[in-house]
Symmetry: C2
Subunit: 112 residues, 2 copies
Amino acid sequence: MEQYQTQLDGIFQALADPTRRAVVGRLGRGPASVGELAAPFDMALPSFMKHIHVLEGAGLIRTSKAGRVRTCTIDRARLAAVDSWLNEQRAIWEGRTDRLEQFVTQNKEQKA
Amino acid sequence: MEQYQTQLDGIFQALADPTRRAVVGRLGRGPASVGELAAPFDMALPSFMKHIHVLEGAGLIRTSKAGRVRTCTIDRARLAAVDSWLNEQRAIWEGRTDRLEQFVTQNKEQKA
DNA sequence: CTGATACTGTTCCATAAGGCTAAGTATCAG
DNA sequence: CTGATACTTAGCCTTATGGAACAGTATCAG
């Protein structure tokens, strides 16, 4: 549960930048290399790489290197954590304690 | 559209802190004064107030002062923006095969 | 009127975030 | 082998963030 909060910190932080959200959006369409991902942005590559590292650190994307090329893919499961949090909030304000209960249970299962 | 992105920046940024998410969670149960909200946290009040300001700046909460007491309420419409973004991503992902096809085609055209 | 309460404003501090350049490493193409 | 490509590493710089202390203002309770 504590872990869940720390994860959310990283995820929300990662998504709080338009460049990184754009990367997530792009990767939703399929894997891409760092170079391809960086192309649309007017930014030096090392700067862009930081964004990639932030996204990877938050677990939102995974990367692997083949030859000179690092390929990035999205990790949808992590985005689902945001969805979970939102549902949690919805459950709170709708006064549906049962949904909150359900959420907590699901979360435990995911961890296991 | 540009405005939407800037809003998301602020919203995600605001939610990237456990104290602030806790405040959002608390306010989901109903309005509360700054003092009530601050009570659970081991933090000086001016420091806590910064979090309130961040949340208000992001539009996630609204506040009003009556006498000495500032009362905070949640603004659920803003949280809906997160939901929208998430749905966008889901739409992208679910349309993946079509769009990937489309992307590849476009990409070939661009290279040519 | 006086004191306690509930913020508010100001200033300071340490660290993190987001950008840059310059130089380095590792492939791949020829 | 050589050069180009695709990152990577390492600094450096500026601003933002999250915390603190301390002093101030404005109510409200008595």
